[in-house]
């Protein structure tokens, strides 16, 4: 209690300096937390993926389609429970800045494969029965204030023209990590239209989603699917849904590495700020440490005072930083929300904030502690007066 009182009073001896140091640490922890949240958001899709789902795509690249005829062969592969297919549509709503993911899907089977998209039964029925119908996630609906029955027009980029859809269903996510910003419509509608406008592109899909009977057999089933289409015109690459998402993330791997580096640079900067404060503090109090030593206080007690004060400053800054991160993430999430299924502060990020603050507190105190502990009493006392 006595020591804690001493630490608190020492820490706030120079109120302005301490406040500025805490402010710096708060901002740094906030920046660190947001950067880590940003990185987590990239991986959110992969984390939310199912272990029992595989994705089969063209082995050359995702941008090359697969024939619809593959569905019959996939169905026959041992270990396949059910499957569906989808195609990336890349339609634009009014303006390019209104970006959201929109897919043409084999609606009935696709929805069965994704129980995390919860659609009210009447809406589901309405969606499945309307070939021009679409369903979308709750957050996307909120963003554009659409209502059931509204007609939405998307301008096709891969498939030219203005595409008209009617909102039939609004799904919400089963889990917090479920993406509620997606737009699904019927692949049949797309295919029928393409057959008329550019028949060579008809009866093709972007990927197949396959549910396996046993997640432990996922690798075996994936191999079996790829073997089935070996030496065909469109060889396949089948991987788990998680790997599929991670392959997307790897396309922007350099950006993520850069963000990670910046987050660590932030930590190094706060170490420098805190170390500067602690160095000034220890230099000013070297005479006091000599007094403590004179009275019989051993080096480890003095080390405890300096390290304790350093940790106190960084932990106060850390607490403020942690408290500010969720509201800041909420604001930030609204700005970048279109690009990420979720943008929320993970508990791991809080742990990293705390860990980083402890690291900063300890690192900042190393040199001042070393100096204070090593100072000879007579030399320290000479600095007073």
């Amino acid at each position: 209690m006595y020591i804690l009182k001493l630490l608190l009073r020492n820490a706030f001896r120079h109120k302005l300096r301490t406040s500025l140091t805490i402010l710096s640490i708060t901002i740094a922890i906030l920046a660190f937390g947001l950067l880590r949240t940003f990185i987590s958001a990239w991986y959110a899709g992969a984390e939310a993926s199912s272990a029992s789902r595989l994705v089969t795509r063209n082995a050359i690249s995702l941008i090359f389609p697969l024939p619809l005829s593959y569905k019959d062969k996939i169905r026959q592969v041992d270990g396949v429970k059910q499957f569906a297919w989808g195609t990336w549509f890349a339609g634009i709503y009014i303006d390019e800045k209104n970006f959201f993911a929109n897919y043409a899907i084999d609606a009935k089977d696709y929805m069965a494969l994704y129980p995390e998209f919860i659609l009210p039964p009447d809406q589901k029925k309405a969606f499945l029965n309307d070939r021009k119908g679409f369903c979308a996630g709750r957050k996307l609906i909120e963003r554009y204030h659409w209502k059931i029955g509204d007609t939405v027009i998307l301008k096709g980029t891969i498939y030219p023209g203005n595409w008209e859809f009617v909102l039939r269903g609004i799904y919400h996510g089963r889990d917090e990590s479920t993406d509620e910003r997606l737009f699904f419509f019927h692949w049949d509608y797309l295919n029928e239209t393409v057959k008329k406008t550019s028949p060579r592109r008809a009866d093709q899909v972007g990927w197949y989603v396959v549910e396996v009977t046993d997640p432990n057999r996922a690798a075996e089933v994936a191999q079996a699917i790829d073997k089935t289409f070996k030496n065909s015109l469109a060889e396949t690459l089948t991987e788990t849904e998680k790997s599929f998402f991670l392959s997307f993330i790897s396309m922007v791997g350099a950006i993520i590495v850069a963000i990670q580096l910046v987050s660590f640079v932030v930590i190094i900067i706060i170490i420098a700020v805190a170390a500067n404060t602690m160095a000034m503090t220890a230099r000013e109090r070297i005479g006091e440490y000599a007094i403590f030593k004179t009275l019989g206080f051993r080096g480890w007690r003095i080390a405890g005072m300096i390290i304790g004060e350093s940790l106190l400053l960084t932990m106060i800054g850390c607490l403020f930083g942690i408290a500010l991160t969720p509201p800041a993430a909420k604001v930030f999430g609204k700005i970048v929300g279109t690009y990420f299924p979720t943008f929320r502060v993970e508990i791991e990020t809080i742990y990293m904030d705390i860990g980083a603050s402890i690291l900063v507190g300890l690192c900042a105190a190393i040199i001042p502690t070393w100096r204070a502990v090593r100072i000879r009493i007579a030399d320290g006392l000479r600095r007073i007066g």
Binding site: Y2, K293, L381, I384
Partner: protein, 234 residues
């Protein structure tokens, strides 16, 4: 003059400082006995080595050669850890600039040395209150050093020095930063501690008026201890 049992025995102590390649002798072959309950004043010009000698007696610095025994213990043979423990029990310190911790109240400053003992909080409180009563500052125990006058701060420092009931009290220019009236009060207090509590006091001072309070005055000049100049206690 009555010869008292020596509580401090200094034998052939040498101490020098190194400045670059130069070696500057500070104390040369010092031999001195200080009796139990004695009030000794060490005088001499600046740089004569009196503060260095005081630091050696209080185990704040190490000798180059020679021996210092306090209460029968050769402190030159103790490790840093042992010295820290020894100081906390055996030496009370009074400095020219009081050396109080500014963020602690008078009570907390006096309590500081007791934190190293096994005393309970209640026992510590008793000791601190008693020490502050001795220096007549019981009514200022919640004040911070910045709220006290120089003389009062020095009295708090004396309370801190005596709270553990040490074997010896060492005082380095205890009146050097005080006006005449406050200095007189501090000297009276030290005199009282010596006479009533039989505390052995070793005081470094420039001030002949302060030295007059001592039983014995020893002069140092260029690191050499001159002949004894004794005076009767008032």
């Amino acid at each position: 003059m009555e010869i008292k049992t020596p509580i401090v025995e200094i034998e052939h102590v040498n101490k020098s400082y190194h400045r670059g390649t130069r070696t500057i002798p500070v104390l040369v072959d010092i031999t001195l006995d200080i009796g139990e309950g004695e009030f000794l004043a060490l005088m001499g010009p600046s740089g004569s080595g009196k503060s260095t000698l005081l630091n050696l007696i209080a185990a704040l610095d190490n000798v180059d050669s020679g021996l210092i025994r306090v209460g029968g213990i050769d402190i030159t043979k103790l490790t840093e850890t042992e010295l820290a423990a020894w100081r906390s029990v055996n030496v009370g310190f009074i400095f020219q600039f009081y050396n109080l911790i500014p963020v602690l109240t008078a009570f907390e400053n006096v309590e500081l040395p007791l934190l190293l003992t096994g005393l309970s909080r209640g026992e510590r409180r008793q000791h601190v209150e008693l020490a502050l009563q001795v220096v007549n500052l019981a009514n200022r125990m919640d004040h911070y050093p910045g709220q006290l006058s120089g003389g009062e701060q020095q009295r708090v420092a004396i309370a801190r020095a005596i709270v553990t009931d040490p074997t010896i009290l060492v005082a380095d220019e205890p009146t050097g930063d005080l006006d005449r009236v406050a200095a007189e009060e501090i000297l009276e207090l030290m005199d009282r501690l010596n006479l009533e509590s039989h505390k052995t006091i070793i005081m470094v001072t420039h001030d002949p008026r302060a030295a007059k309070k001592a039983h014995t005055i020893r002069h140092l000049d260029k690191g050499i201890l001159n002949n004894v100049h004794s005076q009767a206690a008032p």
